[in-house]
């Protein structure tokens, strides 16, 4: 049905190009396709009375919502003017807010003239993420990629070498900070989560109890309380005189929180392996760590890549919570940009801009994870 429907616009353009002399045969195909489109509509929109009512309701909703939205978003919008008064006059969306403030929203308090550095670091980060999505890199090579990318990003962001001015990390902000918090959160949590998952499946009761206790406690409390703990209690944990950076505290909090969720994903992979793999490894006389390193983890971790990507998505969204402890991530900068009294009224534009960035990242990652799931399932079905 939908196949026929997709023919309809093609034929319409054909008709338009041959409009002078429509042959009998072409008219015939046109009519047939028009019937097909009608048939499609009848099948998909008007198959029964309730269905027709639903269609009418949906169309009403769209007519009610979409034209004013388009009007606001595009037709009446202001794009380039640097004067908020022009926006008020136009009455539509004030995208000039984004034009004026995008550097602050994207990079926060980072020195204005040095913005190319976080931009480059972000590019590197995204490139490293993209490379990590390629299954050819799912071995030791992925370690090399990150071992190269992370220090390079650090050097770019901090500077203080090769003529770059030093930028302390309390000036970092915006999208680079969000990316750093999310990615490092997952990368650092990963080894810990593997240990926790192995511990939870261990035969040794004391180790199992410790791991279960940790995982369930962290999963039972909100991230906000973990961040509170990180920001208020970590300084108290350290010996007198030692201080710990605010960014590092938040990063540790996010890492400890993510590790518990990731551990459950890894445990899923460990449980999904057929028992024969464990038994065969034991029969070969491998020690526990040999078995784990050579037989179990390489297979189990492949299975848990989609849940890890999903965890990355939620970690990416969760980093927005650092607003509560006063770090300048993407959401905080979007909110702070509104503190400027002359632009205060354009909160919708600011939040929509930030939301769009979050959406693009999360949407593509979730599509990627769905693609992976299909691919891995296809392998299993054969």
């Amino acid at each position: 049905m939908s196949d026929n429907a997709s023919h309809a616009p093609k034929t319409a353009s054909e008709i338009a190009s041959h409009v002078e002399e429509p042959s009998q045969a072409e008219l015939h195909t046109h009519r047939r396709n028009a019937f097909a489109a009608l048939g499609w509509a009848r099948e998909n929109l008007f198959s029964s009375i309730p269905n027709t009512i639903l269609t009418i309701l949906s169309v009403t909703l769209l007519v009610w919502a979409v034209p004013p939205l388009l009007d606001w978003m595009l037709l009446k919008a202001t794009f380039l003017s640097e004067d908020p008064a022009a926006c008020r006059e136009a009455g539509g969306a004030c995208w000039s807010f984004v034009t004026v403030k995008h550097r602050f929203i994207l990079f926060g308090l980072y020195p204005y003239d040095e913005h190319w550095r976080p931009l480059l670091a972000m590019g590197l980060f995204i490139a490293a993420l993209a490379v990590s999505c390629d299954s050819r890199f799912w071995n030791k090579r992925i370690l090399y990629v990150w071992a190269l990318a992370l220090p390079l990003c650090g050097l770019l962001m901090w500077g203080g070498w090769f003529g770059l001015t030093f930028v302390p990390n309390d000036k970092w902000g915006g999208l680079p900070l969000t990316l750093i918090l999310a990615t490092l959160g997952i990368v650092l949590a990963f080894p810990l989560s593997v240990l926790l998952a192995l511990g939870r499946r261990s035969d040794m009761p004391a180790i199992r109890a410790i791991c279960v206790g940790y995982i369930e406690t962290v999963r039972g409390v909100p991230l906000v309380s973990v961040l509170f703990m990180a920001s208020i209690m970590f300084p108290l944990f350290l010996p007198e005189g030692v201080t710990i950076d605010k960014l590092l505290r938040a990063q540790l909090g996010i890492m400890l929180f993510t590790a518990a969720y990731l551990a459950e994903a890894v445990r899923g992979g460990l449980q999904a392996l057929p028992k024969g793999q464990y038994e065969a490894a034991d029969a070969l006389g491998l020690s526990y760590w040999q078995k784990t390193r050579l037989i179990i983890l390489p297979q189990a971790l492949r299975l848990v890549i989609p849940p890890i990507v999903n965890q990355f998505i939620s970690c990416f969204k969760d980093t927005s919570l650092v607003i509560i402890i006063g770090l300048y991530d993407l959401l905080t900068t979007a909110k702070t940009a509104l503190a400027d009294p002359s632009w205060r009224a354009f909160y919708v534009e600011s939040y929509v801009f930030a939301a769009l960035i979050y959406f693009l990242f999360c949407f593509f990652m979730s599509r990627y994870s769905q693609y992976l799931e299909r691919r891995l399932n296809a392998g299993l079905k054969r």
Partner: protein, 389 residues
């Protein structure tokens, strides 16, 4: 006279090794804990911060915007925290109910044969679940406080109901202190209608006789409170909100913070629940639907009687974790100033300086609430589990 196999040394024995490892790990954990605690105690002593939970009985000294039970700044911190917990529970319970409703509708809509409806539902799900919930909360809060008019020009969707940037104000019945009777009658009616429909179902299963439980149930829910209302003299007085200067007095109000929090949490969680419902329905074998249709059941009946009961078994475990997420996400209230547990806890920590006790209380309460929800859902899951005959 066989030659003695070389004896395994005791440290290579599996059981002994396990004990060794465990002692080592537990020792390390205890050592790390002791190190942190001793540091903390030294730090607290150096900063002259008191320890212990004595502060709970002290006077809180701050006012709370929304109090389901009476609260005065002269009351104790313990009571302030209790109010915070109640506010959290109110948002969580309402959020769970509403997001389940919306999520189920959207999830079914995504599978609808109606092309347009399915597309709209997909757009809803994809947009809402890919944007951080905190951003959504801030957005709704800004929208309510900035886009809605001042109380002076409040929207009036119904007579006596005012929607302004101070929140939603609505009239409450003022029937000389007897309002609770009608409310009690309504609740009793709902409970009775529920029991009636249950009895009717059981009788139908046993004897095949049908019973008009829907009509009678509706009558119980509507007519029975009406009767009580007539009995107390059919009062019509209302305590309506009145504009007085810059704000309303009288009536009942729902704060903008609460509306923003509930809207944001509900819509966000509903997008996840929709996906769970959809995958649950897809997990039911298509033969079930075909067989039910072949029996002559209508589409709605197929969904209600055949597909949903089977899908529920797939749906409940992930649904539980969404309920837990919603409850935990309600802690984001602190960002928009709704006085939930975290918000009150934060104020308490700032005023007393007793961070460790404060964070410990927060974590303990959330743990207990989480455990309670999962216990309840596990019980429900067991109840609906397939009984193999």
């Amino acid at each position: 006279m066989t030659s003695q196999a070389p004896k395994t040394p005791w440290w290579n024995d599996r059981a002994n090794r396990a004990i060794l490892y465990q002692v080592a790990v537990v020792g390390l954990v205890v050592l790390a804990g002791w190190y942190l605690i001793s540091n903390t105690l030294a730090n607290l002593a150096a900063r002259n911060i008191a320890t212990g939970f004595d502060f709970l009985t002290r006077e809180a000294g701050f006012a709370i915007g929304e109090t389901p039970i009476d609260f005065d700044p002269a009351d104790s911190y313990a009571k302030a925290l209790l109010i915070g917990l109640l506010n959290t529970v109110i948002v969580a319970v309402l959020g769970v109910i509403l997001s389940t409703l919306i999520g189920t509708i959207v999830g079914i809509a995504r599978l609808s044969g109606n092309w347009l409806v399915a597309r709209i539902a997909t757009v809803y799900v994809e947009i809402l679940r890919n944007i951080p919930v905190l951003l959504q909360l801030l957005f709704w809060y800004a929208l309510i406080t900035e886009a809605l008019p001042e109380p002076g020009d409040a929207f009036q969707p119904l007579e006596g109901v005012f929607l302004s940037n101070r929140g939603l104000k609505y009239p409450t019945p003022d029937w000389g202190g007897l309002e609770w009777l009608v409310l009690a009658a309504l609740i009793l009616g709902i409970v009775l209608a529920f029991l009636l429909s249950r009895w009717a179902r059981l009788r139908q299963a046993a004897t095949g006789q049908t019973f008009p439980s829907l009509r009678l149930g509706l009558a119980l829910i509507l007519a029975w409170p009406l009767l009580i209302w007539l009995l107390i003299g059919a009062p019509t007085a209302f305590d309506a909100p009145m504009l007085d200067g810059f704000d309303f007095t009288g009536g009942h109000s729902v704060s903008p913070e609460f509306v923003a929090l509930l809207t944001g949490l509900t819509l966000y969680t509903a997008s996840f629940i929709a996906e769970i419902v959809r995958s649950g329905i897809l997990a039911v074998a298509p033969g079930q639907t075909e067989a039910a249709l072949a029996l002559g059941l209508k589409r709605g009946q197929v969904l209600r009687l055949v597909v949903m009961p089977q899908a529920l078994r797939v749906i409940i475990p992930p649904l539980t974790s969404q309920f837990l997420n919603l409850t935990k996400n309600s802690s984001l209230a602190v960002a928009i100033g709704y006085p939930d547990l975290v918000s009150v806890g934060n104020t308490t920590i700032n005023q007393t300086g007793q961070a460790i006790e404060g964070v410990a209380i927060l974590m303990a309460v959330y743990l207990i609430v989480s455990l309670a929800i999962s216990a309840f859902m596990n019980w429900y899951d067991k109840k609906t589990a397939l009984v193999s005959r």
